[in-house]
């Protein structure tokens, strides 16, 4: 489900400049190295990576679109569909799980009305709330095992988010969307 939270893909001069700056980090004939940096620029600006964007990256780096798509489809950190406005990644791995990250995930879903029953870790990891405001995903180890449960909301990092703190976490982003 793609919602209207993000602007449609459009290459502005700023985005093109940023892309060119990244391409310069690599040797002239090794442009392909800039695949991930360019995809990050797109995902940051447009929320996810669609076919049009994949084709633009390919043309920019003189690659076949398939060579870009195989990268997009491999990495868990790259998305082909829109997440919510606030995308929450909860760490699922051992140390966080011991501190209750599964319970945190349950609580976040309850509070935002997200249904994870159709999610699976490989093919469909992200579940979006009906309002399109929130989405959740289980992430593997976020490297802060001493302060679990940890959770990322977009680019922000939060530690020691117990299930009891779930509402407080949501309030930080949108006090209006209390359920």
């Amino acid at each position: 489900m793609d919602n209207n939270t993000f602007p449609p893909f459009l290459v502005t001069p700023e985005i093109d400049d940023e892309a060119n700056k990244r391409i310069k980090q690599y040797p002239e004939e090794k442009k392909r190295s800039a695949v991930l940096p360019l995809l990050h620029i797109i995902q940051h600006n447009f929320g996810f990576i669609n076919t049009e964007a994949t084709e633009w990256v390919a043309s920019k780096l003189e690659l076949e679109p398939m060579q870009v798509h195989e990268v997009v489809s491999f990495y868990p950190g790259l998305r082909e569909h829109a997440p919510g406005k606030y995308h929450m990644r909860v760490c699922r791995t051992l140390s966080c799980a011991m501190t209750g990250s599964a319970e945190l995930m349950e609580r976040l879903c309850e509070l935002t009305g997200i249904d994870r029953s159709k999610s699976d870790s490989h093919h469909n990891p992200i579940a979006v709330s009906p309002c399109g405001q929130w989405s959740v995903e289980f992430a593997e180890c976020l490297a802060s095992c001493g302060t679990g449960p940890v959770c990322m909301v977009n680019d922000d990092f939060h530690e020691a988010v117990t299930p009891d703190n779930a509402q407080g976490l949501l309030d930080k982003y949108d006090s209006a969307s209390k359920s």
Partner: protein
């Protein structure tokens, strides 16, 4: 160091020896270049520029520094693998893909002390003759990426990077490259493939040893964040002086990250091998939670083999004689932990108390490896998925007693049959948990489940006909 004070509640333990983490949680400290320089930062770089590159490598060899990323390979020796008559450009890559479950040290270095890493990298690049370096940082560290970009820019403005650095005639650019959430990119050849813009399928060694055929088929040195930071201190102290820290063959300090069921989880920088498991867990970390006992410990990130806390190990002394060692007396070094059948790995110590069901732990770990297998090699791709399915059954009380044996068989068919060490990383936890907790796992299985029902047996009889 007596004039250094730390933020309230973040004071290091008495038994710690802060070298890399000297500035972590330090009162009045920030991650700006000015703060770093005021504290004597970039002085080691100036010292290094007065040395011959080969002399720096020799100091690192003398120091005995072993890689802090997981394998514990001597850093100076790794640098020495660059072919002597090489004419291609040499690259250095800082592996900041910190993703071994249980490990959380690089995060603090890049957030709070990024210039320590950059200074270590410049010295290392000068030693190996690299004019281009990349920091491969995991995507889940967006804030750290911003901090490092700023730090690189500031270092460049002061001519610690760029052309003719500090009049030495040495040129260097450091670039940041963000990953995209794949554990396999921590494997050095997978990382290189990822940096080349491809799927991070690891390369087979031989022939693709990065020091000879690395990034763009050029000699490439891949070092962990913590290892590169140590280089700065080795130049500062001299290799011989550095080697006095820690114990022979296990020199220096290292950061141990403790998580799980202890009173005070956290990061502790100690001299390698100078404290024991018992001192770490019972004294520094405050022991088990009230009313609980320690059950098992994974000593070096989730790929390391699990250890039972009531076990005793029979190990060989250097002179060939035997000695018995209880779990709590194991020194926190590379060699003794290896002799006890596990590994010091990345320093991520995960502790479980008697409230944890071992089947649940096993299943959590199996989900991780099934998710992170890159899918290149069949034994790992299929095996990790089957191990997850079987441990799902055990954890859900749906397993038959034979399932434990099947799980073990699957694990041993992955181990040693894959391109990279992920195969071992995925199968060792399973092998170890089964060998140490077979009784507990089998007790959770039952003959009385749908897989052994009369109907299932009838169905099976058709297949076997």
């Amino acid at each position: 160091m007596s004039n250094i004070t730390y933020l309230p509640g973040k004071e290091p333990d008495q038994r710690e020896h802060r070298l890399i983490f000297k500035n972590i949680d330090r009162e009045g400290w920030d991650n700006s270049i000015d703060c770093y320089i005021k504290d004597g930062g970039y002085e080691q770089l100036k010292k290094a520029f007065k040395m011959e590159p080969q002399a720096i490598t020799n100091e690192v060899k003398t120091s005995g520094l072993r890689g802090r990323g997981g394998a514990g390979f001597p850093t100076g020796v790794k640098w020495g693998f660059i072919p002597p008559n090489n004419t291609k450009p040499v690259y250095l890559i800082c592996n900041c893909d910190e993703s071994e479950p249980g490990t959380f040290k690089d995060r603090y270095i890049v957030h709070q002390d990024p210039h320590q890493l950059i200074e270590g990298m410049i010295i290392s690049c000068f030693a190996v003759g690299a004019n281009t370096a990349y920091i491969y940082i995991r995507e889940e560290f967006p804030e750290a990426s911003g901090i490092l970009e700023k730090a690189i820019e500031d270092a460049r403005a002061k001519n610690f990077l760029g052309e003719d650095i500090l009049g030495s005639g040495f040129n260097l650019e450091i670039y940041l490259h963000r990953g995209a959430g794949a554990y396999i990119c921590g494997e050095e050849t997978g990382l290189i493939e990822s940096l080349e813009g491809k799927r991070p399928y690891p390369r087979i060694k031989p022939p693709y040893f990065p020091a000879a055929l690395g990034l763009y088929m050029s000699p490439t040195i891949v070092n962990n964040v913590e290892s590169l930071c140590h280089v700065k201190h080795i130049i500062g102290m001299g290799g011989e002086e550095y080697a006095k820290l820690g114990t022979p063959r296990n020199t220096g300090t290292r950061i141990l990250c403790v998580s799980g069921d202890v009173k005070k989880p956290g990061y502790y920088e100690v001299e390698v091998g100078k404290i024991t498991m018992g001192e770490l867990l019972n004294d520094i970390c405050g022991g088990p939670k009230d009313g609980r006992n320690f059950k098992a410990v994974i000593p070096g990130g989730s790929s390391a083999k699990i250890m039972r806390c009531e076990e005793t190990y029979e190990i060989k002394n250097p002179d060939g004689s035997q000695r018995n060692l209880s779990f709590y007396d194991i020194p926190m070094d590379f060699d003794t932990i290896a002799a006890c059948g596990s590994m010091a790995g990345s320093g991520g110590v995960i502790v479980m108390d008697d409230s944890r069901k071992i089947s649940w732990v096993l299943n959590n770990i199996n989900h991780f490896y099934a998710h992170e297998s890159c899918g290149q090699c069949t034994p790992c791709r299929e095996g990790s998925m089957w191990m997850r399915k079987i441990s799902d059954r055990i954890a859900n009380g749906e397993a038959t007693p034979e399932d434990v044996q099947t799980l073990e068989d699957v694990a041993y068919q992955i181990d040693g049959r894959t391109v990279c060490a992920f195969g071992e990383a995925a199968s060792w936890p399973v092998e170890a948990i089964i060998s140490k907790f077979r009784d507990e796992l089998e007790a959770e299985t039952s003959e009385d489940n749908e897989y052994l029902s009369d109907e299932a047996k009838r169905q099976l009889s058709f297949i076997n006909q």
